[in-house]
Amino acid sequence: MPGATTLNLNNRQPLRATGDSATVRAVLIGSVVAFFILFLLLPLVVVFQEAFSKGLAAFLETFRDPYTRHSIILTLVIAVISVPLNTVFGIAAAWSVTRYRFKGRSLLITLIDLPLWVSPVIAGLLYVLVFGAKGWFGPWLREHEIRVIFAVPGMVLATIFVTFPFVARGLIPLMQAQGMKEEEAALTLGANGWQILMRITLPKIKWGLLYGIILCNARAMGEFGAVSVVSGHIRGKTNTMPLHIEILYNEYQFASAFAVASVLALLAIVTLILKTRAEWRAEQELRATRSAKTP
């Protein structure tokens, strides 16, 4: 039994400064690596293996299917609308809560996180309740022949809701740590609000901002739950990549399902690389402000 051995060795060896013996450390690191391989790396390998299980030709054939192509395009369209909007909202939210003191400020900070602890399915259902045929705005929308639910606008709204926190959450701690002395200096030098945002604040936070945008984009393209509820799964109309994967899988088209999934997985890997890079630069950004404060 590995547990018993660990205990035994632990008793024999003197404790180090960190309080953990070499064995405990080895077991801990080993189990984390094993977990990582079993639950994260292996599935990723399986995705690519299954995607190419019927050969490269079959893989490419999947992407000739018009429904698959449409799902990719729709995913991109939704991301192209919701990511810039959430970037602007995120900067505005981070600016408000870090630069001003007002009543309800801490409530606002909590609300920014709301989409993270509400199940995405609930988020989708909320939009159905508000914009659906029997919802608050349902009759009005029908009169004006505007379709929100089971159409692209609803999917964009659901995606915006789910991805809202990412930019703001990345920026708030950064902007709090950086303070606003540079902005005040720019103000006394005659810069107006817009000039301060463009010339001082954005350059100061650019890597932290990029980090938030990358995460926001990854989530926007990968979102399933919320979008699934409002989409209606109409092939060639309201199917995004994650929804399309589910349909293909349910129709036993495993190779095609995994082929589309591999594109999403690739996106995740690219995101991870970009994220790591942006995170590193964001840390440098923060360190630069800190070092600027010590002589």
Binding site: K181, E182, E184, A185, A186, L187, T188, L189, G190, A191, N192, Q195, R199, I200, P203, K204, A288, T289, S291, A292, K293, T294, P295
Partner: protein, 244 residues
């Protein structure tokens, strides 16, 4: 430029930072706002700059008799130097100093050659010739603060406001910059207010010293007046003088 501060009150939450403060500063003077930390001296400086606004409507700030109370900091254009420099780390020394020209409307902006000349002149004045292309992070604390001085002076402000300008520097650099400030003021006669908690600094550099405690002005006078005739127990105690 003369500065008049009239009946300024400022609260943060409920704690009053300034209580009905009034102060007259003549043109061309070098004034020290001296007091312990939390006395309200920095708040007073920031109210003069337009970085904070007084609570009461009857609180007024006048520059050369002109009411600037409703102008924001970017319209007042007082030169301001921060304790921790507040340089723009993503810009080199040249662009930091040229910033106040870069934000001007095109019609008001001087030509590039004039900006270059002005920056070179300022770098000479703060003894940093040849540092145009350095980034702030490549400079020492004393050098950074001199860049901050040059940046504040670039567009020829009529008043210079300094918030603990030597506070983050080590003793030797502090002394040099102190002397530099006094000489600079003697040659330009630019109205200057600086905040400090260090009485030696205040007495060595300033024409007049304003002692502040608990949001109120305790005494105003030349260094000799204040030292020889402390107005009350706080002043005597803060300066370490035994009352007669």
């Amino acid at each position: 430029m003369s500065i008049a501060v009239k009946n300024i009150t400022k609260r943060f939450d409920i704690h009053p930072a300034l209580r009905d403060v009034s102060l007259d500063i003549e043109d061309g003077q070098l004034i020290a706002l001296l007091g312990p930390s939390g006395s309200g001296k920095t708040t007073l400086l920031r109210v003069i700059a337009g970085l904070e606004f007084p609570d009461e409507q009857d609180g007024r700030i006048l520059f050369q008799g002109r009411d600037v109370s409703d102008l924001s900091a970017y319209q007042r254009k007082a030169g301001f130097v921060f304790q921790h420099y507040a340089l723009f780390n993503h810009m080199n020394v040249f662009e930091n100093i040229a910033f106040s020209f870069r934000v001007l409307k095109r019609s008001q902006r001087p030509p590039e050659s004039a900006i270059k000349e002005r920056v070179a002149e300022l770098l000479r004045a703060v003894q940093l010739e040849g540092y145009e292309n350095r980034l702030p992070t490549q400079l020492s604390g004393g050098q950074r603060q001199r860049v901050a001085f040059a940046r504040a002076l670039a567009n020829r402000p009529e008043v210079l406001l300094l918030d603990e300008p030597f506070g983050a520097l080590d003793a030797k650099v502090r002394k040099d910059l102190r002397r530099w400030l006094r000489e600079f003021h003697d040659s330009t006669k630019l109205t200057t207010i600086f905040v400090t908690h260090d009485q030696d600094e205040a007495f060595e550099v300033a024409d007049r010293v304003v002692l502040i405690d608990k949001g109120s002005i305790q005494q105003t006078g030349t260094p000799a007046e204040v030292r020889n005739h402390p107005a009350n127990a706080f002043v005597a105690d803060f300066l370490g003088i035994k009352e007669a």
